[in-house]
């Protein structure tokens, strides 16, 4: 067995080349908070680690008007340190603050949270809610794919996740990210819910996006529930009804997990709370 090799890429092109050398099984290394554990548990299953955290393009945060681009190697801490971004997209900051201890936030990258694709990953949940697209580079060029698809399908080996691009939710929209967990700094979310909502002049729901984390295999929007809300007047009671629908959606899943009844109840409660925050007095 050849010894595992470490290579530090300086550009996106160099990283792609290092990942695609014939006969060499390359693996992207970003913050390493997950990869270091995999190495300890399973030993190396690759020939080369390609460290992408020194590629300037992958560290860029570009906020231009209503358009935002976040490099895949941006750490949760550098996102939180970007004041203009925290103001423009508080949903991202809200998820970063609860996504682990400062030791983890200093290393963990946005790209890593998506590529590790835990069903409960905070940043992945929020990026899906923001309808973010992933920018992928390979030796064949670049392509753009919704983050939700990357989470569901993964990306082929040799392809590099470079950035996330999204439209900043317009001014009147309100956002919320709530999560239920044990000790926040060291445990992942058990159940979480990201939401973006907006009412029109008549107090009807103009836009609503809901993404539960830790509920489905991967975070995804729930058109079944969003459809119930769109165009409806925000009344006192419909948060409860929507929470109930969310609970059914989840409980209908044909799975025998001990945590299901607990999670179904939590999902319903989180839905009510989140709707109250993004649609005003609802629920």
């Amino acid at each position: 067995m050849t010894e595992l090799e470490y290579a530090r890429a300086r550009t996106i092109d160099e990283a792609v080349a290092l990942l695609n050398e014939p006969g060499v099984r390359g693996r992207v290394l970003a913050g390493g908070t997950t990869l270091a554990l995999q190495l300890r548990r399973q030993g190396p299953t690759w020939d080369r680690l390609v460290d992408i955290t020194h590629v300037p393009d992958l560290l860029a945060i570009d906020l231009a008007g209503n358009w935002l681009s976040l490099g895949a190697a941006v750490t949760l801490t550098s996102l939180l340190d970007h004041t203009a971004l925290v103001t423009a997209v508080p949903l991202l900051a809200e998820a970063c603050r609860v996504a682990g201890a400062v030791q983890i936030r200093n290393r963990a990258t946005l790209g890593g949270t998506v590529m590790n694709a835990a069903g409960c990953a905070d940043l992945a949940t929020v990026l899906v809610c923001l309808d973010a697209e992933a920018l992928l580079a390979s030796s064949h060029g670049t392509r753009r794919v919704p983050v939700a698809n990357v989470l569901a399908e993964g990306i082929p080996p040799g392809e590099l996740l470079c950035a996330f691009e999204l439209d900043v939710p317009p001014e009147p929209a309100r956002t919320a990210y709530l999560r239920v967990d044990r000790r926040r700094a060291i445990a992942g979310a058990q159940v979480s819910l990201a939401a973006i909502g907006q009412l029109d002049h008549d107090g009807r729901v103009a836009d609503i996006r809901l993404v539960p984390g830790g509920v489905f295999e991967h975070p995804r929007r729930v058109p079944e529930v969003e459809g119930m809300l769109r165009g409806q007047p925000a009344t006192e009671t419909f948060g409860v009804a929507v929470g109930q629908r969310m609970r059914e959606l989840f409980a209908d899943r044909d799975e025998d997990r001990w945590s299901l009844p607990f999670k179904a109840h939590v999902v319903a409660a989180l839905t009510e709370r989140v709707l109250r925050r993004v649609l005003g007095g609802v629920g």
């Binding site: 090799e5 530090r8 390493g32 270091a36 201890a101 983890i104 290393r107 926040r184 700094a185």
Partner: protein, 169 residues
């Protein structure tokens, strides 16, 4: 693989496997045992060190990742005459140490916070040490001492107020 970095202000270079963690390098290759192994899965914070001024878990960093970086361990905080660092003294003063195993990591987490701000709120202090488990003290004294050290450093850096020239007292 040869990895060179700055450790507590001095250049070091080690030959280690790519899979070696910074924690292993510090303790087993460089003999600095102030950095403690605890859970070794990034949950307890006992192995906290500073890398380029940021607090990280040394158990989750592969040695090559710190190539060229500035690493500070608890051994690097004491003064030139082995004087205790102000955070170390405060741990003793506030009775914030019992078994002591979490203390080096706690000190580095606190130091990272105080390098960012000398006016942290208690919530910010709690957040700064949320990744460091202590099974003895109940955290109260640790939060108190960090607040006190912040206040002392503020006082020490406060510029004396000088009356503008020509002004009368």
């Amino acid at each position: 693989m040869r990895v060179a970095f700055s450790l507590n202000g001095a250049p070091v270079a080690v030959d280690v496997p790519v899979t070696a963690t910074l924690l292993q390098v510090l303790r087993e290759h460089l003999g600095l045992t102030g950095t403690k192994p605890g859970c070794e899965i990034g949950e307890c914070g006992a192995c906290s060190v500073l890398v380029n001024g940021q607090v990280v878990n040394a158990c989750l960093l592969l040695a090559p990742q710190v190539g060229g970086a500035e690493v500070v361990t608890v051994e690097g905080l004491a003064g030139p005459d082995d004087d205790l660092h102000d955070l170390q003294r405060a741990f003793l003063e506030f009775g914030a140490t019992q078994c002591g195993y979490c203390v080096p990591g706690m000190i580095l987490a606190a130091e990272a916070l105080l390098r960012r701000t000398l006016s942290p709120t208690r919530d910010e202090i709690r957040d700064a040490i949320a990744g460091n488990l202590c099974r003895c003290t109940g955290y109260q004294q640790i939060i108190d001492l960090i607040e006190a050290v912040a206040q002392r450093r503020r006082a020490a850096t406060r510029q004396p107020i000088v009356a503008p020239e020509g002004a009368r007292p």
